[in-house]
Symmetry: C3
Subunit: 100 residues, 3 copies
């Protein structure tokens, strides 16, 4: 099966940030994403006790360039004041031309 | 820790396709999978507005050969008419002999 | 964007094991994790029929050393008697110094 290497960016954030993050993603040209409800605990910028509760996980598959721009944006706009983590992985997709 | 490199195939699809996709996976020899409820928006074959709503994410860890066969099957049977995306990643598992 | 290669460990287990697994992770120095509710079916140590129902997926991003220790622990303590699977992937994170 012919596949294309792309990047999957995952952002886990407080639920309240969902709309804002999705708007940010769209402004970076992202056309598709998957959202799931998760629970979490972490040490990302805030104390662990402040980050328990409802979180969202937002995932999107994009080009390496868009992945880089999205990570840069999220780090610059959210890491200091919000409980947000983000990571990137390489994935292989079928029909890579459908992705931003 | 000794680990074995295998492939994780992820399929995100309209909830209505869940039973059909699981049957397809079983027919490819898949013996284990994880299903989660997600929300999504995308540009996979249909307009974004048609793909909002309940989706399922199905994940399975399999050999490279089974991963390839599953991707081929999903692309051939669903991509044209349904909002389905699929990707594959390399993962390392403990006790790799338990997987298809 | 500067990123640091780390490991994402994913554990999928019967829901009843959640508290115990989180305690185990904390004892390995893990400071952050994401938990989601999933459904599953598998062949991990028990018959498939015994592993249907509520499962949890626990994910944590850690150093290669902690990933190895966690996998070793989970394999040694759970694989024989419980429906648990675990895998590890390489991910790239921003601000890698925040992780165990």
């Amino acid at each position: 099966m012919h596949t294309v290497p792309l990047r999957k960016v995952t952002i886990v954030a407080e639920g309240l940030l969902e709309d804002r993050l999705l708007r940010d993603l769209r402004e970076h040209g992202v056309r598709g994403f998957t959202i799931s409800e998760v629970r979490g605990e972490g040490s990302r910028g805030v104390r662990a006790s402040e980050w328990e509760g409802r979180n969202v996980r937002i995932e999107t598959i994009v080009s390496p360039e868009v992945a880089d721009a999205v990570l840069h944006h999220v780090a610059g706009h959210y890491f200091e004041h919000f409980a947000v983590i983000a990571w990137v992985e390489e994935v292989k997709v079928v029909r890579g031309d459908k992705y931003a």
